[in-house]
Symmetry: C2
Subunit: 468 residues, 2 copies
């Protein structure tokens, strides 16, 4: 009976943190949709259709970046500001905004609100969550501010003071929130493929937010400790003092960036439509950017439709993996894939346990990672099949679009604007599921695993089966 109660508990309608989070996101999306439909939001002064407005607001709030209309040309200044607000709310997590308001108003934060924030950040403990949320908000504005200043070195000379500052702020927020919206034109950041400031500022912002806030705070604390501590310890020792989560995030992120860079550099080297025409410096910039961007950024400096199919497939794989947990990134997350690969490597080595950095990863975590990936594969393949029926596009274009939407990446091979209404609705749902699904599923699983008392349930005998 206990088990039955648990099952209903997770789907209890009114008060679960997951439901409030979902409802909150829905509310923001709907308000933004109405605002974007108003004539004041478009350059032409005309009313925007419901589906296109819903698509844009969902894409912004879910920090995806797929667009059915050209952001620069279609939306008015008011419309652009609405989009920017959606991005900032979605990226920072609107729960942290709620908590910030609570904190700044000096109100004592309630346990329920703590739980909400815990869910928004996939944070493990309620202890110190308020301090954590404050740090997150401060850090976000600080990093976005630095990014905007760096970008303004390019945008102010190009667009004048006022417009230049606006552009800089827009792109800094868009990059840090992993939104991928841009005001450059119809092909993302392709015009800036060789621009060092744009490249490294945007990449820095993408990587920073893609790592997840807790990783930054953990790393910062260890570096501070190393400096202030009386006893001397080496960098390697310092690295080991990081939490296992932080160690894994750094390791996997660096491995993925290096693999992606080498892959794109070699495969695209002679492609005249992409790297082939560029200087060696620009080739390196572009390959690196293409490797970093699928960490759910949604920006690109190479024309994606011109990439070789191998590079497009590699981009799809990187987009599916996405960024790291507890940040603004989407995808099934680096650590999720990392945990599964580590389990496989341990099995190949004949180990009973999954061991990394002298720590055992609990089986419950591996089961959770497996569950997240299986759900993601089912969602991606299911929607992909529907789209192959409703849309008139090549298979790779649809695969790219679906994984991009689910991973809240926002890159496209160019079919977004010509989607059918059914296709648009499916992509809207995918963006929403991609942004909130993995978080809520992961949290729901964690809560259940924590609550269920297996000892109350009959312990069945083990029996082996053959696999492979």
């Amino acid at each position: 009976m206990n088990n039955v109660n648990e099952q209903h508990g997770i789907f209890r309608s009114s008060l679960g943190p997951s439901q409030i989070l979902v409802a909150g996101f829905l509310m923001v999306i709907l308000v933004a949709t109405v605002l974007l439909m108003l004539p004041i939001s478009s350059q032409s002064g005309q009313t925007t259709g419901f589906i296109d407005a819903l698509f844009t607001s969902t894409s912004a709030v879910c920090v995806t970046g797929l667009v059915v209309v050209n952001t620069l040309e279609y939306w008015s200044l008011f419309g652009k500001i609405v989009i920017l607000f959606c991005i900032q709310i979605g990226g920072l997590g609107f729960m942290s905004l709620v908590s910030m308001i609570f904190v700044f108003m000096g109100k004592k934060i309630t346990l329920k609100n703590r739980l909400l924030m815990q869910e928004a950040f996939s944070f493990n403990t309620t202890a110190g969550i308020v301090r954590f949320a404050k740090a997150v908000v401060q850090l976000t504005f600080l990093v976005e501010g630095i990014g905007a200043i760096l970008l303004s070195l390019v945008f102010i000379p190009e667009h004048g003071l006022i417009k230049g500052i606006g552009y800089s702020i827009f792109h800094a927020i868009s990059a840090f929130c992993n939104a991928g919206f841009d005001l450059v034109g119809s092909n993302s950041l392709v015009p800036y493929v060789g621009n060092g400031i744009i490249n490294f500022t945007i990449m820095g912002l993408i990587i920073a937010s893609g790592l997840g806030f807790s990783v930054w705070i953990d790393t910062y604390n260890i570096i501070k400790m190393k400096r202030q501590s009386a006893e001397h310890f080496t960098w390697k020792q310092a690295f080991y003092k990081l939490s296992l989560h932080t160690k894994l995030v750094w390791t996997i992120t660096i491995i993925l960036i290096v693999i992606g860079f080498v892959f794109f550099f070699l495969v695209e080297y002679n492609n005249p439509a992409t790297l082939g025409a560029l200087s060696l410096k620009d080739k390196i910039y572009a390959a690196l950017f293409q490797s970093v961007a699928p960490r759910t950024a949604g920006f690109n400096t190479l024309p994606l439709a011109e990439l070789t199919p191998a590079s497009q497939l590699m981009s799809v794989i990187l987009m599916f993996i996405g960024g790291s947990p507890a940040g603004t990134a989407g995808g099934v997350k680096t650590v999720t894939i990392g945990v599964l690969v580590l389990c496989a490597l341990s099995t190949i080595k004949g180990r009973e346990n999954t061991v990394v950095y002298k720590r055992r990863i609990p089986m419950a975590v591996i089961a959770r990672a497996l569950t997240v990936v299986i759900i993601a594969i089912v969602v991606v393949l299911g929607t992909l099949m529907i789209l192959t029926v409703t849309e008139d596009a090549a298979f790779m274009e649809l695969l790219f679009e679906v994984v991009s939407a689910f991973g809240t990446v926002g890159s496209t091979l160019g079919i977004t604007t010509s989607l059918t209404p059914i296709g648009k609705i499916i992509i809207i749902m995918l963006m929403f599921i991609g942004r909130l699904g993995t978080i809520t599923i992961a949290v729901a699983l964690m809560v259940r695993q924590g609550k269920t008392k297996e000892k109350h349930i009959i312990q069945y005998p083990e029996e082996k089966v053959l696999v492979g």
Copy 2:
């Protein structure tokens, strides 16, 4: 140090059963390649090129069924007999042939030969393996014989007595061994789309061998017990008396066939190039056949290239899953996928253990299943990327070809004959890895997990990480 020894042990060169199995298959392939290169093997009486002969013999021995030349038109009677021998040797497992020779010669089977057979059948225990192997060989010839008699009802009227019997034997062996070679022409069994005898005989043979021998023997024993037992028990009780492995194989196989049937029936219903033009009876036949065939059969009664992209994708998924362990089927196997899905379902229900049919599935088995699938995904995606560079074909055509080769299915969207030499070599390697890789990897993992004494190794503390 113990661990280090284990690691070297698995790759020890000369005497491991896995190595002998691989070497044996390689030898058969090379002998067949030489025979097929001879002028006597081709209709035209000309020498066949090394790569095409190697491709054909690998495809036959690995019971894949992909062909670079039309089997009916290109090969002479001698060549066809060589191919048929390759299929029978590859399908039955040449190890069981070796054991059969031993048994029939009345020699006492050595422990080493038992281990070899154990590997060939993924069998869990050495006890009774000789009896098991004998049963396998008898069963194979019995079922192939019945299949040939049924097929002759169609083929003798069509081709006369001698040729009709030859056709019946060829297709019965090809179907039961999951080889997918046919003598009908260039488009598999498409001309027989509405022929009841051909459809149900071939499907029966495919399903029978796809279930795996141990499942048949287990099921047969329980049915016999139910009949002969003094105490009466229901069919449900009888089902529960089956081993967990057998229960899972039956359940998953039936689920996959039903899902596939409903999917193809609905999605292709109005496709004029496939089901659209057929009568309702033929529609049902064709949808069912298309659902059964990806269990690594390699036959098709619908023109695969004309299927909708959604159906092609569904076929790819079914081909990747493949048949059940310890039979002639390929793919990552039904039980492998089943175990992972069950783990996810248990996790969603908040259970600590993976439970099905009142039995716990050991974590070691789940880890092994995960490892097999991850290796399969890496192999498929890696070779797919290479082929997108070397071949001039659509992405779906290449994806279909790669999964078909790896899963030893042998279906194609039509690009096999026009592969480049590099493409042919990659597909040859894929067929070989697909046939032997999963078996040897799974066995190697089982051996290692069995041997490693984790208690001798430092037990590291657990630490959780965030996933999803």
